[in-house]
């Protein structure tokens, strides 16, 4: 008998080792590292976040310091790496500080939109019936309302502080999150394990938040990453229209707005800010696509 026993134990250890190896290989983080799209996206996003965080250290000038002697100077002018704008402010410094505003607004708005939207989507999708009808018709109503108009109304009512901009873009994001979540919930709630939980006696709320939500979360994360990219653009458009963060606080959209007036004489003002928006949006989109490939292997095939 003893030989047999040792063999079993050996078998078990080998089993556990293989399991660990498999878990390691299938770990979402490790898979993400192997996905080139995701790595590039992640790198871009990281660089942007670092630039924003260390803006006070990196910025060569005070972003709001006006120097009327040197307006509209081009790239590389006397220590102004990216030139200056209409009031002679250093564009590089403004872009670095603007990254803070743009990223905080974009991420904040996505969090606001996701929180409300996911909650609405969960309830509407799970309980169905009149709750679903009321919520989703309301969402449809918001969908059909032009986003800019919605944001304009909100900001006019609330005033244009950074929190109000976050709130405005966030609320405009709610319907799409609600829709994505509801779709997922409707699929997941019919899965057999939800029935199994009901039979065991798990309550509706527990089922919803302990089982259904975690099984929808990967889709929501993917969607949220992609939404950050569009929130950056939303913020830029609001600032461009003068509805965003109040001047003189720098944001990418407000730099663009100044650049608009001198597009022919000093194209670098709008160009550099536009380039940063472009790269960041691409970064978030690549990251989102990468995460989707990792979390949802079916999509890839």
């Amino acid at each position: 008998m003893p030989e047999r026993k040792t063999q079993d134990v050996l078998g078990r250890e080998a089993n556990m080792a293989m399991l660990r190896q498999e878990r390691k290989a299938n770990n979402a983080w490790n898979k993400l590292k192997r996905n080139r799209t995701a790595v590039i996206g992640f790198f871009i996003v990281c660089v942007m976040v670092l630039l924003a965080v260390f803006a006070p250290v990196l910025a060569p000038y005070d972003p709001n310091a006006i120097n009327p002697i040197i307006p509209y100077k081009g790239i590389g002018f006397e220590g102004h790496l990216l030139g200056t704008d209409d009031l002679g402010r250093d564009i590089l410094s403004r872009i670095l500080y603007g990254a803070r505003v743009s990223l905080v607004v974009a991420v904040g708005a996505t969090i606001v939109g996701a929180t409300l939207g996911v909650l609405i989507g969960l309830l509407a999708g799970y309980f169905g019936g009149w709750l679903d009808v009321v919520f989703m018709r309301f969402m449809d109503g918001m969908f059909s309302f032009p986003f800019i108009l919605l944001a304009m109304i909100l900001i006019t009512v609330l005033g244009n502080g950074i929190w109000n901009v976050i709130l405005a873009i966030g609320i405009a994001n709610v319907p799409s999150f609600a829709r994505v979540t509801r779709g997922q919930v409707i699929i997941v709630k019919e899965e057999e394990y939800c029935n199994a939980c009901r039979v065991v006696g798990v309550s509706d709320l527990r089922l919803l938040f302990a089982h259904i939500l975690p099984n929808c979360v990967s889709q929501i994360i993917v969607y949220a990453t992609l939404r950050v990219a569009s929130a950056i653009i939303s913020e830029a458009s609001l600032s461009f229209l003068g509805l965003g963060i109040a001047l003189p606080t720098a944001s990418w959209g407000s730099i663009l707005r100044i650049g608009r007036d001198c597009l022919t004489t000093a194209p670098h003002v709008a160009g550099t800010a536009g380039l940063f928006i472009l790269i960041t949006v691409i970064g978030f989109n690549l990251l989102g696509d990468g995460i989707r490939d990792v979390l949802d292997p079916k999509m890839k095939q």
Partner: protein, 343 residues
């Protein structure tokens, strides 16, 4: 036609899947011969390689990951592994047809039955649409579908599972193939419908003299349909014999376990069922010794050391077991406790 002609001969077939997590030895040494007009069954559990064997014969494998590493497949004197893609297409439609497990998914849901059948026929035979249509109706009548003309205008979802499987069989026999590969053709069907479909297959075989390669996990279906049977385990042929011999004198311990673990309708015994302990091995780790060693009650040192060869113990009866090809053959059900733990 001589009834003893060998139509399909597979020798030492090895099909591996190359994946990021390792090399899966899905089929790791399979040999058999199939005679014209006869039926051979391949039985085994899921993951035993029975479906991969059949798709290897059809060369229907994902070309990126799967590779036939070794062995030969000869069909009617032609080496299938050397065929060009064009010849392969011809082979698949004209000489050999396949029936899949799920009849609902093997028909295209957006086209009518008639359209699909005509397309298929015209793919392989150079005839007009009208002729192809007539032939399709004829085939549907052959497989016992009532109101065949009307059914030609139906979409797959309008038919029941049994009807769909009949349509697929009709499509398969349209080209008068020499070989039909049926991969679990009745698993998705109900018992009474299964009986109808199996009877239909047998009837068609008698009429058209085709060979059938029947893949199943249901031994009852094997007893009913097959002349010879191959038992597969973890990618290997473990036993290959004609059906009656396999039932009466099975030789491999795995076959014994398989036969014993099915509850018998005729017996009223309420004793615990005989089981094969444990689970099948991971196919990435097989191939160094007998794959069954960790579940076999008769295991000995040699079983852990080398892969047992497939040996013809009696004419036509092949077994791959170290303990069955020497002088001291095992006796079914007698485990010698002294022997068992001998190291």
């Amino acid at each position: 036609m001589n009834g003893n002609d060998v139509i399909l001969k597979v020798e030492g077939l090895k099909t591996y899947f190359y994946q990021a997590s390792g090399v899966t030895k899905a089929v790791d040494g399979v040999s058999f011969t199939l005679k014209q007009g006869s039926t051979m069954g391949i039985v085994g559990e899921s993951g035993s390689g029975k479906s991969v064997t059949s798709s290897s014969v059809m060369r229907l494998m994902p070309s990126k990951t799967a590779k036939i590493v070794e062995g030969s497949i000869t069909f009617d004197g032609v080496d299938l592994l050397k065929l060009s893609n064009k010849d392969l297409l011809k082979f698949r439609g004209d000489e050999c047809c396949m029936i899949f497990q799920n009849p609902m998914t093997s028909l295209d849901p957006v086209f009518k039955i008639g359209h699909q059948m005509v397309e298929m026929i015209r793919e392989h035979q150079n005839i007009s649409k009208k002729e192809a249509w007539d032939r399709a109706v004829e085939a549907l009548k052959l497989v016992g579908i009532p109101e065949a003309e009307k059914r030609m205008e139906a979409y797959p979802h309008e038919l029941s599972g049994g009807m769909c499987q009949r349509v697929i069989i009709a499509m398969a026999v349209c080209g008068h193939p020499k070989l039909i590969i049926a991969d679990e053709p009745t698993t998705a069907l109900d018992v009474t419908v299964q009986a109808q479909v199996l009877e239909l297959l047998k009837e068609l075989q008698d009429r058209l003299h085709t060979a059938i390669l029947l893949i199943t996990h249901n031994l009852g279906v094997v007893w009913q349909m097959c002349d010879t049977v191959m038992v597969m385990y973890a990618g290997n042929t473990v036993e290959y014999a004609d059906t009656k011999t396999l039932y009466q004198e099975p030789m491999h311990p795995y076959t014994w376990g398989l036969l014993d673990s099915m509850p018998k309708l005729s017996s009223s015994s309420k004793e615990a069922l005989t089981t094969i302990p444990g689970t099948p091995p991971d196919l990435r780790l097989t191939g160094r010794c007998c794959n069954f060693y960790n579940r076999c009650p008769y295991v000995k040192d040699i079983c852990r050391q080398s892969v047992p060869p497939l040996v013809e113990i009696k004419p036509g009866h092949f077994v791959a077991c170290h303990r069955q090809n020497g002088q001291n053959r095992l006796i079914r059900g007698e485990v010698n406790a002294h022997e068992e733990y001998e190291e």
